[in-house]
Symmetry: C2
Subunit: 348 residues, 2 copies
């Protein structure tokens, strides 16, 4: 036999007063007598009254919920982002309704609609690889529900977004490899479309250009699924075919780790013969032997900054303010470890 939920009505009828009086007593309105207030507070405490958020949200047209659409949860980078989002949201009194697009536009659309109907106060989205337009987010704009994109975005100057400087990060990584004496650098890229893949490639090109190293298109290799075995087999094939290279830059740690394995299993010493660097600086980088150099991608910070921006926009709108889109670019930075460090003499 489940208990019936305690509402203001419960308390009102127990005290023989009206519901609004109870409400006002709880909110300490000046026109409620002290006796009534203490009586209400006492009952509230005894009966463990907990306000019904659904009713509050309906009334106030505000849910204190932030909707999040992310492509994939099981991923070091994204889980860091989620943590950043949740921590920041919680600190500001917001809850997080989390959904997963699984890199599918169809699901992204579905979740956008669901989150809209759930009256989220704002939306944080990392676009799926399939997404090519913002059409399905138009309703949020129309109804003045703030939307902030992060990490994977499309070109826009009307929607705020938080990204990291992929181009700069990739540039630094490539330059670092060049400083190690490498000039024949394999570039392992991911799916072709996302802006950050493209930017990383641009950074790679920038560095080659700066040092007058011609771009060799046979050095550009594609791993569209971004899996370790994919990179492993690809690099192994390159080795077996006798293609020469002295460094590998993968757009994702997992690719570089696959590449590292292929080198090791084929007798190529890292970093002596080949320097390797990854992207993201995930946990795994410290686990490989040699440890993997990588471009640090501040996942937690992206989550944090996007959420802060979103909350700021929410509050701005509540105060009827006009809002202009802002682009926030976070810095990536190099984490140099053994896999690309020839100066720090290593082991094995």
């Amino acid at each position: 036999m489940p208990k019936i939920r305690v509402t203001l009505k419960t308390i009102a009828s127990k005290l023989g007063i009206s519901v609004p009086t109870v409400s006002r007593a709880l909110k300490d309105y000046p026109d409620i007598s002290k006796e009534t207030k203490t009586a209400v507070l006492k009952l509230v405490d005894e009966l463990h009254y907990i306000p019904n958020n659904l009713a509050l949200n309906l009334r106030k047209n505000k849910s204190n919920i932030i909707g999040v659409i992310i492509p994939e949860v099981v991923h070091f980078f994204f889980s860091s982002v989620i943590k950043g989002i949740m921590q920041t949201a919680e600190n500001h009194g917001y809850s997080v309704l989390l959904t997963q697009s699984q890199e599918q536009l169809k699901l992204e659309k579905k979740h956008a609609k669901l989150l809209f109907s759930s009256h989220v106060d704002g939306l944080l989205v990392c676009l799926s690889d399939e997404t090519k337009s913002f059409d399905h987010f138009k309703i949020f704009e129309e109804f003045n529900i703030p939307l902030v994109l992060f990490d994977k975005v499309l070109d826009t100057d009307t929607i705020s977004h938080v990204i990291i400087n992929d181009r700069e990060g990739a540039f630094q990584a490539t330059e670092h490899l060049i400083h190690q004496g490498c000039s024949n650098i394999l570039f392992l890229k991911g799916p072709k479309d996302p802006l950050n893949t493209i930017e990383r490639f641009n950074g790679y090109k920038d560095a080659l250009e700066k040092y007058n190293i011609p771009l060799d298109s046979s050095n550009i290799k594609s791993c569209p699924h971004i899996t370790r075995p994919e990179a492993y087999h690809l690099v192994e094939k390159v080795i077996k075919e006798g293609q020469l290279f002295d460094a590998i830059f993968g757009v994702s740690d997992i690719l570089s780790i696959g590449a590292l394995g292929a080198c090791q299993d084929n007798g190529i010493k890292v970093p002596e013969k080949v320097c390797i660097i990854g992207f993201s600086d995930s946990e795994m980088c410290e686990i490989t032997r040699p440890q993997l150099s990588s471009v640090y991608q501040p996942g937690f910070e992206i989550g944090e900054k996007s959420t802060l921006k979103l909350i700021q926009e929410i509050q701005h709108i509540e105060n009827d303010g006009e809002q202009k889109a802002e682009q926030i670019i976070l810095k990536s930075s190099l984490k140099i470890r053994e896999s690309s460090n020839r100066i720090l003499k290593t082991f094995c």
Copy 2:
């Protein structure tokens, strides 16, 4: 200038009919004329009417939201669980409100209350390490809101829970090490209280007993924070102090990986001199050299099964059925790789 949300009222007044008529037209009630229905449907389509879930939830006293409290998001195992939860919830028309306890009882309590006031239809919880009682979940029981625990639970036969057979898994791992000829097995344990840590230790003991190997308490080492450096330094210290051992079983992959590093950096060959096995079978196991053997912990499946159980209980309650607690035990299994495999001759 934000648009005003389209509600049933908008449509009703545009057509000069009443709100309930619009509602019934949309739900295809038989006592609404075809003309009215088509007119309503046409407007609904034109104005992009989207129902207000808040209002629906309030009316139906059902939110279609599942609350989740998890200790930590950035963790291979937990992110797999979350994925299992989200996928299953979505398939059954539920959304997921995710919160993080950060292993703090205080936050767990806070989130429980918040989720209750948000009228979640059910609650999935992985208890924090600090949690010693279910007191803060009593309200859910009282109001007949289903609660399902997973992974880290306390002893209970009134609350359904989904766990893996830690004892069996640890037994198999230890037995496997013994089969490799090891008899002096370091056991790296985590925080002392959680049931699964205890169970893993029991599995370890069971195996030793079966093979008549005396339990040497100096082989039991504690890594309460479960970090890689912790395990690294601990094992390094053991080596430097000259304590002998021929295998290491860590209750978490990250501990075993730390241990592996310590062995390698101190000239101890794995698996020739020391066999190592971990627990969870996270991504990282395939990345180390030698690759790390581990006890596979079905994260996705735990999420999936807990959610299914929860939804089943929710639906059961909606049909006024009585519900009895169920314990679901998932099987863990051995993933044997190079770090504990002396038969499959490895490298370097």
